[in-house]
């Protein structure tokens, strides 16, 4: 049975007091806290198994290689990918999207082509495409959002044509928590001959995600938002797409052979197998091992349970927040169409003031643009405060949060 109080016992940081108050961590959309199981596996790796991978025949290297490959396997199972060949480990979502834009986009996008993005995207799913468009001359087009922050599917379906080569969309908005119907988006994209790239940074940690069912072509996500360490994340793509792509970066690990030809006086190079072809240099082995443990932890809880718990908390939090007259919540009113993220403002105060006030009571929330300035412009907001939940958050914490909001409300 899902019990957040039991889960909390696994998170040492939640025992901390901040500004003489028990820590309430509501900034999970930025990064999650780590359970002791993940912390211990990282410690164990450096104390007992540390070595470079795929480079040596000695015992430690074999152990490290096996752990690192198992980590790919575990992540592949977690999102129902076919095999580890479809899972590339990278620093995180940002690097994964940059890999697609450069390794795929640089060679496949040209003048006259279109890349379709939604206005609710995180900057990391905007900037790589806008930057590359200056090189390749393709057009970047933006699909708008409705007043409640949901995607304007009609506008998307009217906008897409055979010119579109890739549709890039977040699975869950990091500002409103809106869950996009990426299966529908992928179907429409494929009907027009376009690929789909899904930013899964806010979905993979919180929802059951099955890449085969969604039929997306790329899915990028970060380990640190799903109980894992920072500096590790993954890119999923279909094997046939990755096979056709050229590598992102060059170096060790990603090559099978670099052979000097004395006649041409050049080196001829052949690439390593998938996924190593996209993992140049010594990888973040320990990060991968930490991510594996995080995935195992989430699998033990069950992603349906994770999602259900967050939906319940979100609904309860929205209800409690509405008791404060000066609080304005953005995004859908229906908690069932979103994940555990609630953006809001308090009349007469900047979002940073709200965050600093809550901080005084040990409550950690995010304030600002959340790296999604175009969406804030759409809502005509200078910034917003954002509260976001995870498996270890409780109704009691929301009550405390609502009580402090009421104090701010009365200022």
């Amino acid at each position: 049975m899902f019990d957040p109080c039991k889960i909390r016992e696994d998170f040492p940081i939640l025992k901390r007091k901040i500004n003489n108050h028990p820590l309430i961590y509501f900034d999970n959309a930025a990064t999650s806290q780590k359970p002791r199981q993940v912390i211990e596996v990282i410690k164990d790796f450096y104390e007992n198994h540390n070595a470079n991978v795929h480079r040596a025949v000695h015992t430690l290297s074999q152990e490290a290689s096996e752990l690192y490959e198992n980590a790919h396997e575990e992540v592949a199972k977690f999102i129902s990918a076919n095999s580890i060949e479809e899972i590339v480990f990278l620093r995180g979502t940002t690097e994964a999207i940059n890999l697609v834009s450069y390794a795929w986009g640089l060679r496949n996008l040209k003048k006259g082509d279109e890349v379709i993005i939604s206005l609710m995207e995180h900057h990391s799913n905007i900037v790589p495409w806008e930057t590359l468009s200056k090189v390749n001359g393709f057009n970047v087009r933006y699909v708008g959002v409705n007043d409640d922050g949901t995607l304007d599917y009609e506008a998307f379906e009217n906008m897409i044509s055979e010119k579109a080569k890739i549709v890039c969309v977040g699975h869950v908005s990091n500002v409103t928590g809106v869950v996009n119907d990426v299966k529908r988006i992928a179907k429409v994209a494929h009907d027009h001959g376009a690929l789909t790239l899904v930013d899964g940074a806010q979905s993979v940690p919180h929802l059951p995600v099955n890449v085969k069912d969604l039929d997306v072509d790329f899915l990028a996500f970060s380990g640190h938002k799903m109980l894992g360490p920072t500096g590790i994340g993954a890119l999923y793509s279909k094997r046939e797409i990755l096979e056709r792509m050229e590598p992102f970066q060059g170096g060790g690990e990603m090559i099978r052979e670099v052979s000097f030809n004395p006649v041409t006086k050049r080196c001829s190079i052949s690439w390593n197998d998938l996924p190593w072809k996209f993992e140049a240099g010594t990888p973040n082995v320990c990060g991968g091992v930490g991510l594996m443990e995080a995935v195992k932890y989430l699998r033990r809880i069950g992603m349906e349970n994770v999602n259900a718990h967050e939906c319940t908390l979100t609904e309860y939090a929205m209800q409690r927040m509405k008791e404060c007259q000066k609080v304005k919540i953005y995004g859908p009113k229906d908690a069932s169409v979103k994940c555990g993220i609630i953006p809001f403002n308090i009349e007469g105060l900047s979002s940073h003031d709200v965050a600093l006030f809550l901080d005084s009571y040990g409550i950690m929330i995010r304030s600002g643009f959340h790296c999604a300035q175009p969406l804030h412009q759409t809502f005509k907001l200078k910034s917003s405060a954002r509260t976001s939940f995870y498996i270890y958050n409780t109704r009691e914490e929301i009550d405390r949060f609502a009580d402090v909001l009421k104090e701010i409300d009365q200022l």
Partner: protein, 89 residues
């Protein structure tokens, strides 16, 4: 002569049209910094001794008892630095 570095751990500049500066005082110096600022600046409003709305030489800002302050409508970081030097000296 007081150096800002004696008291300030970090200054965060927020992004967007209206740039706010959030000043985070060093943990072990925060009480001293708050006391100095409260002595020099004019208290416009105090809320539960947690937040102080202050003005100092036409600059209005909010100071938090936790050792953080938020300054608005300052154009340059150098302007903020001058205000901080005056407040902390």
């Amino acid at each position: 002569m007081v150096s800002i570095e004696d008291y300030v751990a970090r200054i965060e500049e927020t992004c967007g049209e209206e740039r706010d500066f959030i000043v985070i005082f060093k943990y072990d110096k925060r009480e001293e910094a708050v006391a100095k600022i409260l002595k020099k600046a004019k208290i416009e409003k105090s809320i539960s001794a947690i937040i102080f709305e202050l003005t100092f030489k036409d600059v209005s800002f909010r100071l938090y008892g936790t050792g953080k302050a938020i300054f608005r409508k300052l154009k340059e970081r150098s302007e903020l630095q001058n205000v901080l030097i005056n407040l902390l000296s």
